[in-house]
């Protein structure tokens, strides 16, 4: 309809009965012969009602609309429809703004404490989720690392390239008062892939063993079950393969349990402290 833009003022004047007879005839003939032009005139007419409803017409134009344009029920009907649509849209926009204002005031005003609490809860929930995901993924990785072997067995043929750490001192459950001075210190060199924890002093009286590695005694990292001791030159050992990146400096515990006839027995805790290279 762009092509009719130059006629906009003429059409507006025609609709307000403000044109000479020949201009009137010119507009009307075009309306009858050009459907697109007729549609454009309808659009200008609707916009005139709109301008009337929104009260943006100059005084003289407004008077002409009132006196010349709104004399038939059909046209008044159009104006009512436009008024109703305007009221509906303005009210809806006001409601939306009011909701937005409330949200802003909730965040900025009296509800600051509640907002901070909500944010804290969200942060804690996020961290908990992240920890669960990380733990599950480490559990799977460690299970895979310890399940390889030509006979499908467990803990049979650890890779020779693993960095081996012998953890010999088994602290019995009753021995909780062992001083930190006696605690084994373990240095894990950088750029390692796998650390092999070799647990000594294992009795051969259980069907299989289960170990749980914890950090700082209360953060459980993973649990491995169905482990069997391996006979080495140093005697019977339980060997656990762990990704080296797990060992950040800190205090670690490997809890050992023996299973026989479906009964669990807590055998004790291997404790060690991972220290930095320097």
């Amino acid at each position: 309809m762009k092509q009719f833009e130059s006629d906009q003022e003429l059409i507006r004047s025609y609709l307000l009965s403000d044109v000479e007879d020949d201009q009137r005839r010119q507009v009307e003939e075009r309306i009858f012969t050009d459907p697109e032009y007729a549609d454009y005139v309808l659009m200008i007419e609707a916009e005139l009602y709109e301008d009337f409803v929104f009260d943006v017409l100059a005084g003289d134009e407004r008077r002409k609309v009132s006196q010349r344009l709104l004399l038939t029920p059909d046209r008044r009907e159009r104006v009512r429809g436009t008024e109703m649509l305007r009221d509906y849209a303005v009210q809806r926009a006001a409601r939306t703004r009011s909701v937005m204002d409330r949200i802003v005031s909730f965040l900025q005003g009296n509800y600051l404490v509640a907002g901070v609490s909500l944010a804290t809860i969200a942060l804690v929930a996020g961290l908990a989720g992240w920890w669960v995901l990380t733990r599950n993924s480490l559990q799977q990785e460690v299970s895979l690392l310890n399940s390889s072997g030509p006979d499908g067995g467990v803990n049979q043929f650890p890779d020779a390239s693993d960095y081996a750490v012998d953890i010999a001192s088994l602290r019995m459950r009753s021995d909780s008062e062992v001083s930190l001075a006696k605690e084994q210190r373990v240095l894990i060199p950088r750029d390692l892939r796998i650390v092999q924890l070799r647990l000594g002093a294992v009795a051969d009286e259980y069907s299989y063993y289960e170990v749980t590695l914890s950090r700082e005694s209360d953060v459980s990292l993973f649990t491995l079950d169905h482990l069997k001791p391996r006979t080495t030159a140093d005697g019977k050992l339980i060997i656990v393969r762990v990704p080296a990146r797990v060992f950040i400096p800190g205090y670690y515990q490997l809890t050992l349990r023996g299973i026989k006839d479906d009964r669990f027995e807590n055998l004790g805790v291997y404790a060690f402290r991972v220290v930095n290279e320097n």
């Binding site: 609709l15 549609d39 659009m43 929104f54 006196q67 709104l70 038939t72 809806r92």
Partner: protein, 182 residues
């Protein structure tokens, strides 16, 4: 015979007939005739009566012939209704019309809501946004709206015109259905 004169195919003739009839109604409405539809149909009847000789002698656009007859109808109507017309204008004064009663307003409002819901969400949001700013602010707001949509203001106006047309038809139908139920 009328359809054969208005177009070479039935579809073309039908479209021309609708276009002519609607323009006749609009012409009478714009000239403040209260019974515009009736006058439009009377105009068509007059043309149909003249058709047997007309199809051979008349060479121009048939739509313009309807327009010519309508202008005569209008003059006749003005002569017959001048007293009545003056009275109507006085009665109406400068007011756009008497306020509808609350039941009628409620019904209109329900129809508006119902018809807005029938619009595709995009069009509904567009028209409500278009009408949401009052007075002068709306002109700048619409310019901004068009810029945000990446279109000219004229294209935005045309889009609104289409949506408004659909809404107007829907509301008219809804009100007519409500009338027939009551």
């Amino acid at each position: 015979m009328l359809f054969a004169w208005l177009g070479s195919t039935r579809e073309e003739a039908g479209a021309t007939y609708e276009h002519v009839r609607q323009n006749l109604i609009n012409l009478f409405v714009r000239n403040n005739c209260l019974d515009a539809e009736d006058l439009a149909d009377q105009t068509i009847d007059r043309v149909i009566k003249k058709l047997p000789g007309l199809t051979e002698s008349y060479t121009g656009d048939p739509a313009l012939y309807f327009y010519g007859v309508a202008k005569n109808m209008l003059l006749e109507w003005r002569r017959q209704n001048s007293a009545h017309s003056e009275a109507s204008m006085d009665e109406l004064g400068s007011s756009p019309g008497a306020e509808p009663d609350s039941t009628e307003s409620d019904l209109r409002f329900k129809c508006l809501e119902k018809c807005l819901q029938k619009l595709p969400r995009k069009n509904r949001n567009l028209i409500l946004q278009y009408y949401s700013e009052e007075k002068r602010a709306k002109i700048d707001f619409r310019r901004e709206m068009a810029r945000n949509m990446g279109i000219d203001v004229i294209n935005l106006r045309v889009r609104m015109h289409r949506i408004r047309g659909i809404l107007h038809k829907c509301i008219k139908k809804c009100l007519a259905e409500s009338d027939s139920v009551q």
